[in-house]
């Protein structure tokens, strides 16, 4: 309210024409600091009840219009702690095998031979006929000549086995043999792998294929 408006309201008050709401409004104005002396007298006449009621209503109105600041971080922190507690303190999951898992697949074709073929092919042995060499050279490298002969024999054998090996077919569901116990499944698979590995080793050692360790080859 402006100064003039307050003065008009004071005159209305002294004439007994103000309502309760107008008197509360007047009380808010005259109760401020640094007001004229006449206004202080009016404040005294209005009385502490009227002035305090006006201030009370003003404060309550300001609280309603003031936006409430809601802090979310305590709730987020509590939710994180609760989630962590549930994860770490919750009961362990019981792993139940609802369906028997597929343990191995037996194909009609010989899978061992397939594995050995890939092993041998990775070496890249080329079947070559021993060429006629000078007597001087053959005398100098008899070892190399023997190695070449071995390679040629191995490659012939592989080619023969390729012809003999039946055609591969894709794995079907009927090939699957389910296992009831996962431990037995694992043991069987491990044994199978071991056996394959032993066969590969035997094959390599029988055929005398050179290894990657060239120092051992000379021994």
């Amino acid at each position: 309210m402006t100064y003039n408006e307050t003065e008009i309201l004071i005159k209305k008050y002294l004439n007994g024409e103000t309502t309760a709401e107008e008197e509360k409004l007047l009380a808010r104005e005259v109760a401020r600091e640094d007001v004229p002396d006449d206004w202080k007298v009016i404040a005294g006449m209005l009385g502490e009840l009227t002035v305090d009621e006006a201030l009370f209503d003003q404060m309550m109105a300001e609280r309603k219009t003031k936006p409430r600041i809601v802090r979310l971080w305590p709730w987020v922190a509590a939710a994180c702690v609760a989630a962590l507690l549930i994860v770490f303190l919750g009961p362990p999951r019981e792993e139940t095998v609802s369906q028997p898992q597929i343990a191995k697949v037996e194909c009609e074709s010989h899978s061992d031979i397939q594995v050995e073929e890939t092993e041998i092919k990775a070496v890249e042995v080329k079947a070559t006929e021993p060429k006629e060499q000078d007597t001087g050279q053959s005398a100098v490298n008899p070892q190399q000549t023997r190695k070449k002969k071995h390679k040629a024999s191995v490659s012939r054998r592989i080619a023969k086995e390729d012809q003999e090996a039946p055609a591969l077919r894709p794995v079907e569901e009927r090939d699957a043999i389910p296992y009831e116990d996962p431990q037995i499944q694992f043991a069987v698979q491990a044994r199978t792998l071991r056996e394959r590995g032993n066969r590969v080793i035997q094959r390599v050692s029988i055929n005398g294929l050179p290894s990657n360790n060239y120092q051992l080859n000379d021994l």
């Binding site: 007994g16 309760a20 202080k40 005294g44 009840l49 009227t50 305090d52 009621e53």
Partner: protein, 182 residues
């Protein structure tokens, strides 16, 4: 109103004051303080309170005054504010030691003295009014009754009430100005 009549209506008035205090402070401890201070203040007005009349409006005004009084005291005294935050009761009086409204209790002693002088001048000027003028003046100023309510209670016509109240206020205003000038 007699003390027995006041004791009869005190529980209902206390509930009103509790609700006012709870809505303002938001906790029951401070609301209990408001209700306690309010009942004590109303007890001082018992002589002026008429029997057979509802004093709900007066009780609410007194409760609001007690709330503001507590706020002023906490502002002036950090210790009281700390005690209030811990839920302890804050005692105070409606009259006497409490500075009148419009004067912050944190004000200088001179301002506090000025406010007290004004307060006493108003009381003295009201005492010098005629009984009819004083009654209507207090009904408007203290009880906060509207003209219609005063008409119902006094059976006086509204224009008459207006003129009587106007005359009373002008007298009080002039006397206070004279008193403060001297």
């Amino acid at each position: 109103m007699t003390q027995e009549e006041f004791e009869h209506i005190a529980p209902a008035l206390r509930e009103l004051m509790l609700s006012v205090g709870r809505s303002f402070f938001g906790n029951d401890d401070d609301a209990e303080d408001v209700a306690q201070e309010g009942l004590v203040a109303l007890l001082r007005f018992i002589d002026r309170m008429e029997s057979g009349v509802r004093h709900d409006a007066l009780a609410i005004r007194v409760a609001k005054h007690c709330c503001m009084d507590m706020v002023r005291k906490r502002k002036s005294s950090p210790i009281l504010a700390l005690q209030a935050s811990k839920g302890r009761a804050v005692s105070g009086k409606m009259h006497g030691d409490v500075a009148p409204p419009g004067c912050d209790t944190g004000a200088s002693p001179h301002e506090h003295l000025e406010a007290k002088e004004l307060y006493e001048a108003v009381n003295e000027a009201v005492k010098h009014l005629k009984p009819s003028e004083r009654r209507l003046f207090e009904m408007r100023q203290i009880e906060g009754l509207e003209l219609d309510d005063i008409v119902k209670q006094t059976n006086i016509a509204k224009p008459s009430i207006k003129s009587i109240v106007s005359a009373a206020r002008k007298k009080v205003f002039a006397e206070i100005k004279e008193r403060l000038r001297t």
